[in-house]
Symmetry: D2
Subunit: 375 residues, 4 copies
C-alpha cells in the first residue's frame, strides 16, 4: 500500500478492501462469527458469546500497528488478537474466545472475506471494461481499419472486430471471477485440521460458522490443500491477460504515427507540454505486467502436512499484491476504454495502401459476438 | 525433449504426444481438415481436396529436422509445409492448399489437438493418483498419526484424513482439466482474423473445419485473445499445486527419522547402498517446481493487435514444457502413491508423546470426502 | 506496506527506507540537487537555486496522499511535484525548477537513492547472518551430526560443516550486494535522453548532479537500458537463495522428530501452548518464497525506445516489494541464526545408526571456509 | 530440444552444446577425470585408471535413450553409468570407478562443463550483437530521428544514440557472462559433502579433479549451496533484458507506419506475400520472453541440508531451457542486427513535425559510448 503510488495504478478501491483496517475488521468479524456459531451449536453460553462479540467489535477499530508489533513473535496477527480478546472479556468468558480454532482458521476465513470483497470491486471494473468494449464493437462494427500482424500492416478489418476480440477476452475473465467467487468457502479445522475440538459437533460448527459469515460451507479442511487459492490466483491471472491485451493495443494504436485512438484525458509530461500519453492504458499495462509472477508465487508454495512452514505466510502479501495489481489494472483500463476517442479518419488513412476488401465478415464476427453476449 | 532425462521426470507418455513427430502429424492433419472442409463448403473441388489430403498424409511422415531448417526464415513450420504441399500437389491443385488460412490458424489448431491429447494422458495420471489417495484414505481412515503444523508435532490425526486432503486436491485438479478440455476450440480466422477469404461462407467453413477435427467450433477468432491458453496453463498450474502437496508430504513422511511411509521401489545411490530415497516423489516434486514459472510465461504474453510479434511464438516451447512438467510430475506421483508402503507402527510411535485424543472427527472427514467422491 | 503484517516478515527497517515519506524526501532531494547543479554549471542563478531548494525541502514534508491523488493524471508523482514547486517559487524562479529534466530523471535517481539506502540495511542483515553462521561453524567445527541427502540419513558430517555451507552462501550474497551498490548511478537524460536541454553542458550537468547526491556519474542515459535494474534485482534474488537455504535447513532440523536446533524465542500457537515453532526461520522462508517471481518481473519488462510505456512504471512497486521481501527475510534469518540453540546430544543420537566415520574432512572444510573469510 | 522448432528460435548452436549426446560425453569425461585424479593422488592404480578411462570413452558414444530408461529408477543418469562402467571394467578395476564420489559430484561438474560451453556460444552471439550495435552507433551518430517516449513522439535524437543505448546494454550483458564463467568450479564432495572418502587427501583430490577438467578448483562443496547457479541464471536473465530491449525496438521501428528499419531477410507469410515481418527480431523477443520465468525457477529452489530432495533435479531441464532460450535469442538478434537496413529518409520524415533541435548532445553520447568501449 502506498498513498503516493496507488492512485497511479488505480488500486485505490481494491486497497480500501484489502488494507490493514479491512484486515483487522475481517479478523475480528471471524472471531465474532466463531463465538456466535459456538453458542448456536451449544458449546458456549450465549451471554459469553455476546461478550466476545462486543470485545471483538471494539478491537476491530484499534490500531493495526500495535497489533502488528505483537504479531511478530508468533508469526501472525491472530495470536495477539486472541490474547487481547481473552484479556478484555475477563476470565469467565475467556474460554469462549477462539474456541477450538487455530490461527489459520481465522486468517484463512478472513482472507476469503477480503478476497471476495476485492473480487467484487474487480468484477465491477472488468465488466465495465467489457461493456465499454461491446459498445465500441457495436458503434464501430463497420469502421474500416488496417489489420496488423506481427505489427506489420496485413489486411483490412474493422475496429468493431478488434473491439469484439477485446470484449470476448474481458467477458471470459469476468466469467472466471464469477466461478471463483462461489468456490471460496470458510475454513474451520482446528489445531491439526481434524475438527477434533468440536467433536462430535464439528460439521455443525463448520456449517454454523460459515452461515454466520454468509460464506459457503467447506467440504473439508483446506489448511494445506490450496487448489482454491490457486484457482483464485489463476482467475486474477486471466484478468491480467484480458486487460493487458486491450491496454497494449490502445498504446499501440495511440502511437503518434498511427493516431487511431486517444484517451480523453491523456497524460502530460514534466518536460514536454505537447505530449498526449495514453496514460490510463500505460498504467493498466504496468499493472498487468506484475500479475503473472504473483500468480506463480501462489502456485509455487509447498504446503507441508497439516499446516505449512512458510508457504501459508507467503500467501498474504502476495495475494494482496495480486488483487491490487489486477484490480488496479482493470480500473485503469476502465478509465481508458470508457473515454476512448476513435479517429476513424486516421484509420481510413492508414488503411489506404491496402487493397481494400469487403469487411463483411468482420462485421459478421461483431454480430456473433454481440449476440453471444445477449445470451 | 531429452531421451536421457525425460524418463527420470516421468514425461515419456506426454512427450510422445507432444514431440516433433506428433507436431508434424497434427499440422498435416489440420491442413487435411482444411482441404476437406473447403470441399464440403464448395470452395474447392473434392478431387483437389483428395490430392491435398494425400500429399499432407505423406508429408506427415517426413523428417521434422528438414522442415525445421526451412521454418526459420518465416518463423514457423507452417510456411514451408504449405510450400511443400503446393509443390507436391502440382499447379492444378496448388490453390486448394491452405485456402484462405494463415499460419496461425493451422498452428493454433494443431496446438489444440496436441494439448488435448496430452491432457488426456495427464488426466489419466491425475485421476489414478486421486484414486490411489482415496484408497489410502479408506484403508487408513482410522490409522492414528501425529498431525504436524509448521513441521512441529501438533495434535493427533489419522493418515486417512491426510490422504483425504491429498485426494481432494487431486480431484479438484482433475476437475479443472475436464473444464479446460471442452473449452479448447479450433482456430480459423485467415490473414487478419476476419474470415474474409471465405466470405460469405466463413462461419460454415469454421464449423466444417472444426467438425473434421472433432473439435469444438470457435465462437470467434482468438489469434490474439489468449484467455483460453491462460485457462489451459492455469489448469496445469493447479495440477502442479495438487501434485506438489502430496509429493512433498511423502518426502517428509519418508524421512529416516519419521519413517512413516516409503515407496515400494525406492531409489538407490551411486555412493550409499543403504539409501532408500523416495525417488518417485522427489522427481514428482522436481517436476512441479518447474510449473509455476511456465504458467507465468503463458500469462505474461503481450498479444498485439491482430496477431502478435513474439508472444505467440513463445507459447509453443513454453506450453510443451508445461504439459511435460505437469504431466511427468503426475506420472511420477502415480508411481509413488500406488506403491506407497505405510508403516502404521512408526506412525503410532511418533504419535506417542502427544496426549492422544479421539480421532473421531478425522474419520468423519474421511467419510465425508469419500461420500463426496461417489456423488 | 502493512503495519499489521510487515513486522511478521521483518520488513520494518527496509520499509522505513522505502515508504512514501522516504520516496517523497528522495524525490525532493533530487530536485534540489538538480537546482544546485544547474547553478554550479551556470545555467540558473544561484539565488533561484536557493529558492528552489527551500521550496523542495518544504515539500518533502508534505502529505504523500495529496501528491498521490495529483499523480494519477500524468502517471507519476514527479509531474505534480514540479507543478507545486513552480507555484511555490513564484514566476521568477519557476524556470529554475526541474530545468531540462524529465520525470524519469528525477524518479530513477530517487529510485537509486532509495535502493542504496535499503541495500545498506539489507547488507547489514546479510552480513550479520553470515557472521552468525561463521560463529556456528567455528563453535561446531567438530560437532558430529548425520548428513542427510534427499532428506534421508546418509553419512556423518559435522554441524560446523553445514554452517560453513550456510556462511559461504551468505558471504557470496553479501558480495553481490557490494558489487551492485557501486553500479547504481544517477540518471540524467532529459526529454528524449539526449541531454539536449543542457547542450553543450550536458556532461558537466550530469557530473554535477551526481556529485550533489554523492552518486556515481552515469556513463550514459539508461532510461530504457535497464540491465542495472536487472543486476540489482538479481543480487536480491541471490540474497533470497542464500537466506532460503539456511531458513529451510533450520525448519527441517527443528522438526520435533529431529530436534537438533531450536530458536531461542520460538513462536507459540493460538491453539497449542506446547508448540515451539521456529517462527523466525519460517517467516524468513516465506519472505524468500516471494523473491524469485519479483525478480522475474523486473527481468521481464519491455523498455521501448526512448522511454517505455508501462515497464518503467511496473518497476516501482515491484522493486519496493522485492527490497522488502528479501530484506525482511534476511532480518528474520538474523533473528533465527543469532539465537540458534544447538542440541548436540540430539545430533549425536540421530547419528547413531550410521557407521560413524571420521569427520576429519568436514573439519578441514570448516577451516578452509574460515580461512577464506579472513582473507 | 525440438528439431522442428529449435531453428525458429535460433537455438541450434546452444542445443548442440547441451543435448543428450553432449551430456553423455560430459558425464563420461567427468568420470574419466575422477579416475585420472584418483591415480594422480595415489588412491588407485594408474593401470586401473586407464581401464576406467577407456571404458568411459566408449560409453560416451552409447545410446542416451538406453541410459535414460535405466536412469529413472535412481533418479539420475549417473547411477546407471557407474553400474555400466563397473560391469565393463571387470571386477579388478571396479573399485577404481566413481571412487568416493556421489552422483551429484559427477552431474554438477558435467553441468558446469556444459554450461561453460554453452556460455561460450552465447557470449559469441552477444558480443557480435554488441559490435553490430556499436557499428550502427558509429555510422548513424548524426542520423536524426524522432525520440519516442511512452510510444509518443517526443523530441529529436539520433539513431546512433539509440544504437549506443542498445550497445551499452549488450556490453553489460557480455560482461556479466564473463564474470560468471570464471565462477563456475568443479564439484567434489562425496556422499555427504565432506570429502570423507578421500580423507586426508580430499583437497588434493578436488584440486587434481578440477585440473584434469581445466576447471577452477572449488573453494568448498556446493551440493546444496546454489548461489553459483543463481549467478549463472541471473547473467542469462541480464542477457535476456539486453536482447529484448533491442529486439522490441526493432519490431517497433519496423512497423509499417514508421518504416525506419527493416531486416535484410524479412519473413513472409503463408497468406500474405507482401508481408515483411522482422522475423529475426520477433523470434528473438519470443526467446527473451521465456527467460525471466526460467531464472525465477532457478532462484526458487529449496536445497535442503546436504543434498536436496527435488530442487537439484529441477535445475537440469530448467537450466538447459534457459541456456537455449537466452542463447537462441542472442543468435536471432545477431541475425537481425547484422543485417539491419536503416531508412534515414523515413526517420527524417517521421521527425518532421517536431521542432527540430540540435542533436549535438546525442552525438556526444555516441562518442562517449564508443570511447568507453575502446577502453
Amino acid at each position: 500500500m502506498s498513498e503516493l503510488f496507488d492512485p497511479v495504478f488505480g488500486t485505490d478501491a481494491v486497497v480500501a478492501a484489502t488494507d490493514d483496517r479491512a484486515w483487522l475488521r475481517a479478523l475480528c468479524a471471524v472471531e465474532m462469527a466463531l463465538a456466535r456459531a459456538s453458542a448456536r451449536v451449544g458449546l458456549i453460553d450465549p451471554d459469553d458469546a455476546s461478550v466476545v462479540v462486543h470485545a471483538a467489535a471494539e478491537l476491530a477499530d484499534s490500531d493495526p500497528a500495535e497489533l502488528g508489533r505483537r504479531a511478530a513473535a508468533g508469526g501472525n496477527p491472530v495470536i495477539p488478537i486472541v490474547v487481547l480478546l481473552r484479556e478484555r472479556v475477563g476470565p469467565d468468558a475467556a474460554a469462549a474466545v477462539h474456541l477450538g480454532a487455530t490461527s489459520q482458521d481465522i486468517l484463512d476465513t478472513a482472507l476469503v472475506l477480503i478476497s471476495r470483497r476485492a473480487l467484487a470491486v474487480i468484477h465491477g471494473d472488468v465488466t465495465a471494461c467489457a461493456d465499454a468494449a461491446a459498445e465500441l464493437a457495436k458503434t464501430h462494427r463497420g469502421t474500416p481499419m488496417a489489420g496488423r500482424t506481427l505489427l506489420q500492416r496485413a489486411e483490412p478489418t474493422t475496429f468493431g472486430a478488434l473491439a469484439a476480440v477485446w470484449g470476448a477476452g474481458l467477458d471470459r475473465a469476468a466469467g472466471r471471477l464469477d466461478a471463483v467467487d462461489v468456490s471460496l468457502p470458510a475454513q474451520l479445522g482446528g489445531a491439526a485440521g481434524t475438527l477434533a475440538a468440536w467433536h462430535p459437533d464439528g460439521f455443525d460448527m463448520a456449517a454454523a460458522f460459515a452461515d454466520e459469515l454468509d460464506l459457503p460451507e467447506p467440504d473439508g479442511v483446506w489448511h494445506s490443500e490450496r487448489t482454491r487459492i490457486a484457482e483464485l490466483a489463476s482467475a486474477l491471472g486471466i484478468v491480467g491477460v484480458a486487460v493487458r491485451k486491450v491496454a497494449a493495443d490502445i498504446v499501440l494504436l495511440a502511437q503518434t504515427e498511427l493516431g487511431e485512438v486517444r484517451e480523453d484525458a491523456p497524460g502530460g509530461s514534466s518536460s514536454m507540454p505537447h505530449k498526449q500519453n495514453p496514460i490510463a492504458a500505460v498504467t493498466a499495462r504496468a499493472g498487468t505486467d506484475r500479475v503473472p509472477a504473483l500468480v506463480a508465487t501462489l502456485l509455487g508454495g509447498t504446503h507441508e502436512l497439516q499446516r505449512p512452514a512458510g508457504a501459508w505466510h507467503a500467501e498474504w502479501p502476495t495475494l494482496m499484491a495480486l488483487l491490487r495489481a489486477a484490480g488496479g489494472a482493470a480500473a485503469r483500463l476502465r478509465t481508458s476504454l470508457t473515454g476512448l476517442r476513435v479517429d476513424t479518419e486516421a484509420m481510413a488513412r492508414n488503411l489506404e495502401p491496402l487493397d481494400a476488401k469487403a469487411t463483411g465478415h468482420a462485421e459478421d464476427l461483431v454480430d456473433r459476438y454481440l449476440a453471444g453476449r445477449r445470451r
